[in-house]
Amino acid sequence: MSTTPRWFGEAAGDELTIYERSRPGRRAFVAPPLDVPERPLDELLPARLRRSQAPRLPEVSEPELVRHYNRLSKRNFDLDTGFYPLGSCTMKHNPKLHERVAALDGHARLHPLQDPRYAQGALELMWQLQQALAEIAGLPFVSLQPSAGSHGELAGVLLTRAYHEDRGQHRTKVLTPDNAHGTNPATVTMAGYEVVKVGTDPQGNVDLDDLRSKAGEDVACLMLTNPSTVGLFESGIEEIAKIVHGVGATLYYDGANLNAIMGICRPGDMGFDIVHFNLHKSFTQPHGGGGPGAGPIAVSERIEPYLPRPVIVRRASGSNGAEPEYDLDYDRPKSIGRLRGFHGNYGVFVRSYAYIRSLGAAGLREVSETAVLNANYLLALLRREGVAEYLPAAYDRLCMHEFVLSGAPMKRELKIKTLDLAKRLLDHGVHPPTVYFPLIVDEALLVEPTETETKETLDRFAEAIAGILREAREDPETARGAPYTTPVRRLDEAGAARRPVVRQQN
């Protein structure tokens, strides 16, 4: 340790992994007693089937384990700590109530193979959540099974395939805009289709001419994000739907940006056939440092027969006014089949259901209105002198819930890149926006403040950006060397990829 450590609480030994803390003989686990006859293991499990060596897991006591992971946690920046305007990710507040209700025994300790008659609460919750999501999407049928956004995309494209095949059509291509999120093209390939890119016009919308030229009978689907990944609403959406449906293709809605339009307009009404939701974006499932999430899909009537199995059914319990009964229906001959085990990420459903219940229709609309208001306000703040010259908005319009800036002039004039700006923001105690996405904007910065931030926070963020640019005018080196206050500074990513060390060899 240097004479003066760099951050509060830094201590000698901080660099160690849990394996390096291990000492033979230490332990946190105490086994429950062996209460059955102790027969020689060889009788029960022949040696040739047994492992020759214990796995080299750490040997640590509980206090060490607690400190290790507790101290590690402090090396993270998180949403409960500060502003996290990561574009396309909807880093909105995660209500604390949700963790409480998800932890109730009846939810958290319910076995997935419990007989449905003894899991009525869970099935009802799922059914109710489906109803709400259907209403929000404007599409009548929902499957909660997919595990995340990209899993929902995969489900959606497989549904498209099943739909066409059921009609005896063999289509080979799926269209995705050039500003699409990477999961869209990756999904297309994984679902056995070929990707065809559609361009973006100078205003940031889908280039309709390009779309028309590419929309042929071999096209199975157009995947679209709306508002798009540049934070703009596709005002030509009805025309787009017409073109796509005109060639018999389906229109897929990537719901990552749903936070902009809840209760304001609906993908179903726009002509979309299939929608996925990111419950970990619009519906407050905490991101967990990269999951878990859930990616339910809502579909139109014509897609419904193909939904993943099983589906939840609700039966009115006769005429005696009893509670309706919920069940799982596996008898779905046209289903694409399962995408995963059991019924999806139920724990996530609990949280999102609690959220929808807390807000109701008015609350969801308020979410979207405020998300869009906050984004436009922040954009307006950043249009001020001293910022806009270096970091202009990529599209000089009002935005929806997020907006793209281009760092190209900054790079040119001040010799600092978007990456440098991002790293310098870390020294201001805020998380940087998404950088270098979408790909179609040079030195892109995608900023999504979300509805749960205060005006003061937005003001301070604009101030921080202005301050960094001011600083860079005098001294670009500071930004180029940033960050300085973080537990580690810039890391050698190239080296890591060249000689990958992906586990500890102890």
Binding site: N76, H111, L125, M190, G289, R340, V502
Partner: protein, 454 residues
């Protein structure tokens, strides 16, 4: 105004002025008039925190959790004891609320935990590389299938019927889109019969222990695959790996599995995590995030997401998978759990299960009207068949507060009165004795020979 929003009327006015518009409505000008909803969504009215809590509690109360009955359900997810430290750490905002670690300087907690997790998975599986998680068990099998497809472009998967039915189905769902066939191999005496494999076989897909609880002799099976130039994919129960020969030692190329037994909640089936390990040769084909060790500009050790050129955000349509958000928090729970168990504890736990399971199997096998489906070695789960209609027997057991296991008939029609009985360290000898007693009388009562029924 909802309690999650801070924008007051006064704020709103100021902000609109700064934007230069007169109303929030104007911000939505790009949305065609026709598409704008004129009515509120049809959803129930907003509720206070307290009311939502009461409602969710009432729903929970309509489920019978493993705390409310003596449950021997397993079949992929298991009621292990989850140590308090897992909840304590995964519940910390610092791990719970950040996004995927795109800015490594402020994400070392998540990144180092991923690295430690990968190491633990490598240790368990005996394979040299692992990723930072995929969604869950069955879809991990499908994801492994995609790796095989990318690797050798062959057209058929050969899948043991000992593989979890959900995993077989998930693989089938995707194989269809890849224009690949899925052929199933039957079990013989409870284990996978060594199949004939040709050059069209992309991968042989196995499960260890298999769905009926039997420990497979993996070495024989991987040898057959190797001979045909196919990969072997094996889905494993991670707890059983505390005592079983590792997939790596047995020649498996890709080991995957359901991570829930490693400190995860049951959660009615999710979220949990899928683990994914492979040989070095397949490293650059792995799906999802991988954390790697490196140094910062000051020479400090640090961790980053590495080999990102495999991934969708860089490689797009040529990515090795479309996965983006995975199961970081659950995998964190997994590595905490494994570190809690530790080197010796992992083995002790697995051996305890082997012994308790042997006891249970022996005792249950001796109950009249109950017979064992196979006599292969098992770790913590085994299949039995009953001389009585299984649904009725189960129903009788439940009346006595015992859930005796998973009825196999739905997935294995030939075992129409079969039951899969699973143990964890939470089921004591006394619990097993009770199961035997309750199941015994239920079978007696429902036995077809017994005439007198209500």
């Amino acid at each position: 105004m909802s309690s999650y929003i801070s924008t007051t009327e006064a704020d709103r006015r100021e902000m609109l002025a700064a934007i230069g518009v007169g109303s929030v409505e104007e911000l939505f000008a790009d949305i065609p008039e026709r598409l704008r909803l004129r009515e509120p969504l049809e959803l129930d009215a907003p509720r206070s925190e307290q009311e939502v809590f009461e409602e969710l509690r009432a729903l929970a109360a309509r489920n019978v959790s493993v705390e409310q009955e003596l449950s021997f359900l397993g079949a992929g997810m298991y009621d292990h004891y989850v140590p308090a430290i897992v909840d304590a750490i995964t519940g910390r905002s610092e791990f719970l609320t950040p996004y995927t670690p795109y800015q490594p300087e402020v994400s070392q907690g998540t990144l180092q935990a991923m690295f430690e997790y990968q190491t633990a998975i490598c240790e368990l599986t005996g394979l040299p590389v692992a990723n930072a998680s995929v969604y869950e068990g069955p879809s991990a099998v499908a994801a492994a299938g995609y790796v095989a497809k990318l690797e050798n472009s062959r057209r058929r998967f050969v899948v043991s019927q000992g593989v979890h039915p959900h995993a077989r189905e998930a693989l089938r769902t995707l194989a269809h889109a890849w224009d690949m066939e899925v052929e199933e191999v039957a079990l013989k005496d409870g284990v996978t019969a060594v199949p004939e494999l040709d050059e069209e076989v992309s991968a042989l897909v196995l499960q260890q222990p298999n769905f009926l609880g039997a420990v497979e002799d993996l070495e024989q099976l991987t040898a057959a695959a190797r001979e045909a130039g196919a990969l072997t994919i094996c889905s494993c129960d991670p707890i059983a790996l505390g005592v079983l020969k590792t997939p790596g030692e047995c020649g498996v190329d890709v080991a995957v599995g359901e991570g829930q037994p490693l400190g995860g909640r049951l959660d009615f089936g999710g979220p949990s995590f899928g683990f994914f390990a492979s040989t070095e040769a397949l490293l650059r084909r792995l799906p999802g995030r991988i954390a790697g060790e490196t140094r910062d500009v000051d020479g400090r050790r640090g961790f980053v997401l590495t080999l990102q050129t495999r991934e969708q955000h860089i490689r797009r349509e040529r990515a090795t998978s479309n996965i983006c958000t995975a199961q970081a928090l659950n995998a964190l729970g997994g590595v905490i759990y494994l570190s809690w168990l530790g080197r010796r504890g992992m083995v002790e736990l697995a051996e305890l299960l082997v012994r308790r399971t042997a006891y249970a199997r022996e005792r249950l096998g001796a109950v009249e009207g109950v017979s064992l489906v196979h006599s292969q070695p098992v770790v913590r789960e085994f299949a039995i068949t009953l001389d009585a209609p299984v649904q009725r027997v189960v129903e009788r057991c439940r009346e006595a507060g015992v859930n005796p296991g998973y009825a196999l008939g739905h997935d294995y029609p030939e075992l129409s009165d079969g039951l899969l009985v699973a143990l964890t360290e939470r089921r004591t000898r006394a619990d097993i004795d009770r199961l035997c007693e309750v199941l015994g009388s239920a079978v007696q009562a429902e036995h077809p020979r017994v005439e007198a029924r209500a």
